[in-house]
Symmetry: C2
DNA sequence: TCGTCATACTTGCAAAATGAAAGCATTATG
DNA sequence: CATAATGCTTTCATTTTGCAAGTATGACGA
């Protein structure tokens, strides 16, 4: 198979710019955070303190799915409602979240970690 | 001095959410990247391959200034045009950029580092 | 000092994204 | 079976983005 072409919509070959095209907004990394924290179901995400609008949540889950960061799996409890899980590519974002968390804790007054990450 | 209150506009005390309110968009961290790479003047930023619109660049430099991440300094070459520099708070974002860079390099096809960071 | 070019923005506007609210299937529960 | 919970979609006002053009100031050579 030929070498896959880089996305023509990409702004530059910079890995940072490329990442920001994917999760450079106010919500996407919070969804990833919730997944790291063990969220699986739609309502889990809406229960987070930031209260993401449901239309944005649906959109973000879809986008993350399209980019191989999230997959739908059968719910562990046998429910037929969809459950979401991080892929390896999604789990690999953990160091990004940790770096941002550390920065926030050090430089932004009044921030604190709310729970421990699952895993 | 009394304990400073947390920003009432803050979505939650989560350091991640707080950081995203500041740099959760497609451009802000690219501006920080350019500063790490040694950019100082307005035109330096516009010369980057992503070609940030000038109205957004002006807005982002202002916001970063208001949040103590960037300061205006006298230009090293004696010019009276403004020069921008990262503060310690801004330099502290370096691990965030590095984590995102590493993620992009590993998971996003065709990305590559364009230059070496200054400093 | 005058003219010219570069720099550093600001303004205007169309298009896209955001976010609040309500609506509505489908699934679970008593 | 009735009712509630879940997982979305739709609507629409507001905000943000991004392109293009305009403008004001600084730098520089004649």
């Amino acid at each position: 198979m030929a070498t896959p072409k880089p996305d023509p919509a990409r702004r530059s070959p910079c890995p940072l710019a490329c990442g920001l095209d994917l999760f450079g907004d106010r919500w996407t990394l919070l969804v990833v955070r919730d997944l790291v924290f063990g969220a699986e179901r739609f309502k889990d995400f809406t229960a987070s303190p930031e209260h993401i609008p449901t239309n944005l949540l649906a959109d973000r889950l879809k986008r993350l799915g399209e980019h191989g960061i999230v997959v739908q799996v059968a719910a562990a409890d046998g429910s037929r409602h969809p459950a979401y899980r991080l892929t390896a590519k999604g789990e690999a974002l953990r160091p990004v979240l940790e770096a941002m968390r550390d920065w926030g804790l050090k430089w932004e007054e009044g921030t604190r970690v709310l729970k421990k990450a699952a895993g």
